[in-house]
């Protein structure tokens, strides 16, 4: 379904962040991408929905090369790719409902979107999703009065509003305290399971990756060094993935171990 071939990306003509990366996703599986900071995890996800433009390679979604699209066709493909952000990226001054419905903007015409006249089916879907993520009491609350965990729930609902073919999540729990972080991971994992939705998720937290992922991809300096099930991810592999960044790894293992320490 999603097929990445020889993906290369460098910023400002510097050392490439992604060096000819190849990755294919599986249907209905949660794939966690782990690696130290600067390994290229975020860049990889952002290349997929073209928030950054890759230098070369191919990213095919159902056979269409995303890297060649422009304008309307790019929008049509982007709406099939949901994304959850580390910083939630909600519009603070808009209500929860408006934020969730904004996930539908790729489907509605310009005037309908601007006037906030969404089809009834979209509104029904938004209510259903808000109920599912446990926020139905906040429909008309402005997002700036929500807590971090609640905001990320809105972020999840907004991404699913797109009715996407695939979900990308860029460290969705990194801004949250450990308990909330667990809850959000649980929500993402369960809800995507219910919807049969494949997920690519960047995680900073290795134990979470082990707990929730069906498949783990270890990224190191723009190259995939590990690709396997959570049971295959031995400490030896972890050391290889995080070599040179042992402090990084230690910190992440500790977060889950103590379950009370802050990121």
């Amino acid at each position: 379904m999603l097929q990445i071939t020889d993906l290369v990306k460098s910023y400002n003509n510097g050392e490439p962040v992604l060096k000819g990366l190849n990755l294919a996703t599986d249907e209905r599986r949660l794939t966690a991408i782990i690696g130290s900071s600067g390994a290229g995890k975020s860049t990889l996800l952002r290349c997929i929905n073209r928030l950054v433009t890759a230098d070369s390679g191919r990213i095919e979604l159902d056979g269409i090369n995303i890297l060649e699209l422009h304008g309307k066709r790019l929008q049509d493909t982007r709406r099939q790719i949901g994304m959850i952000f580390q910083a939630y990226n909600l519009v603070d001054r808009l209500t929860v409902m408006e934020n969730v419905l904004s996930g539908r903007l790729g489907y509605v015409g310009t005037l309908r979107g601007v006037l906030r006249r969404f089809p009834q089916s979209d509104i029904d879907r938004a209510y259903a999703l808000l109920k599912r993520v446990g926020l139905s009491q906040y429909v008309n609350t402005r997002c700036d009065s929500l807590s971090g965990g609640e905001r990320q729930r809105v972020g999840v609902a907004r991404a699913l509003m797109q009715n996407p073919r695939i979900l990308l999540a860029d460290e969705p729990t990194a801004s949250l305290d450990p308990k909330t972080s667990e809850r959000i991971m649980e929500l993402i994992s369960r809800i995507t399971d219910e919807l049969d939705l494949p997920v690519l998720i960047n995680l900073h937290n290795v134990p979470q990756a082990r707990d929730y992922a069906d498949r783990i991809v270890g990224l190191r300096y723009g190259v995939i060094v590990f690709d396997g099930g959570p049971q295959d991810l031995t400490d030896d592999w972890l050391e290889k993935i995080y070599a040179g960044h042992e402090d990084d790894l230690k910190k992440q293992m500790k977060v889950a171990g103590e379950d009370g320490a802050n990121e």
Binding site: N49, L51, L74, Q75, D76, T77, R78, R79, Q80, I81, G82, M83, F85, A87, Y88, N89, L90, V91, D92, R93, L94, E98, S102, G103, R104, L105, G106, Y107, T110, G113, V114, R158, A159, M161, Q162
Partner: protein, 275 residues
């Protein structure tokens, strides 16, 4: 400079320290500076051709004028109040017209969202051009184009305000959190959608603060537009001066001060509400 002065002037001589705030070099430089300012002052005074007897005469003239201004005459109160309402309306309408013209210019003038370098420079040119021409000059231009009256005043206020509004709004747009914009793009939203969902909500508070501030300025500016025939209270003001009705002039001045004061109060209240 300061390190230099401490090394050169803090020399120990016997049991005493010799200390001076400035070194010799600094003292010479400062004296030269004073000299240059003095010469400039003399030169500017010599070119403006001041007729000194009139200047020395000023205190007597002020006394005389005060004597003629008071007591205030209320004979023209009604036309003054009508003209005042016109002035305020010129300011309000001018601000509204300016806001509508400033919105697209602000969008083009914000570095982060402008479509191309060309649009950015176009917007910047408009901003600088409208700001560098004073309201009264704009009023003269519009009086020449469409004849005297409040419409010329409204357009003068509007054109003067475009640059101010666009520049501050463009800065507000440049300062928004970029996250929501990316989220909208990632959802496949069009440019119009990104603007209405990610940009507009974030600049709304700045928008109102900037607009109210400009409205406050425009109230003041609209009071003088009548001097060049562009409507409002300035017309009565000039008429009264021309006819030496000083006790009417004083009423106009008092009314203007009261209106500006009221405008200040209103903007203060609105701004507090916006916070």
């Amino acid at each position: 400079m300061s390190t230099h002065s401490t090394t050169s002037s803090n020399k120990a001589v016997g049991d005493h320290f010799r200390w001076a705030r400035y070194s010799t070099k600094e003292r010479v430089a400062r004296s030269l500076g004073y000299l240059v300012v003095g010469v400039l002052l003399y030169w500017s005074l010599s070119t403006v051709d001041v007729f000194w007897p009139w200047v020395w005469d000023a205190p007597a003239q002020i006394g005389d004028m005060m004597f003629r201004m008071f007591p205030v005459s209320f004979v023209q109160l009604n036309p003054i109040l009508f003209a005042l309402v016109e002035s305020i309306n010129i300011a309000v309408l001018g601000t509204i017209v300016a806001v509508f013209m400033a919105l697209p210019i602000a969008y083009l003038g914000a570095q982060t969202v402008t479509p191309s370098k060309l649009t950015l420079w176009l917007a910047r040119f408009i901003i600088v051009a409208t700001r560098s021409v004073d309201t009264l000059i704009w009023a003269l231009v519009f009086v020449a184009i469409i004849g005297p009256g409040p419409v010329a005043g409204i357009l003068a206020i509007a054109f003067r305000s475009i640059g101010f509004l666009s520049k501050l709004l463009a800065e507000a747009i440049e300062e928004i959190d970029w996250g929501p914009v990316e989220a909208m793009q990632a959802a496949g939203a069009s440019r119009a959608h990104v603007i209405t969902y990610a940009i507009v909500p974030q600049v709304v508070p700045s928008f109102w603060a900037i607009t109210i501030l400009r409205w406050d300025i425009n109230i003041r500016e609209s009071t003088v537009l009548g001097l060049v025939g562009a409507g409002g209270i300035g017309l009565i003001f000039q008429g009264a001066i021309d006819m030496f009705r000083w006790n009417t002039v004083s009423l106009v001045l008092i009314v203007i001060v009261l209106v500006v004061f009221a405008g200040e109060l209103v903007t203060g209240v609105v701004r507090r509400k916006l916070m």
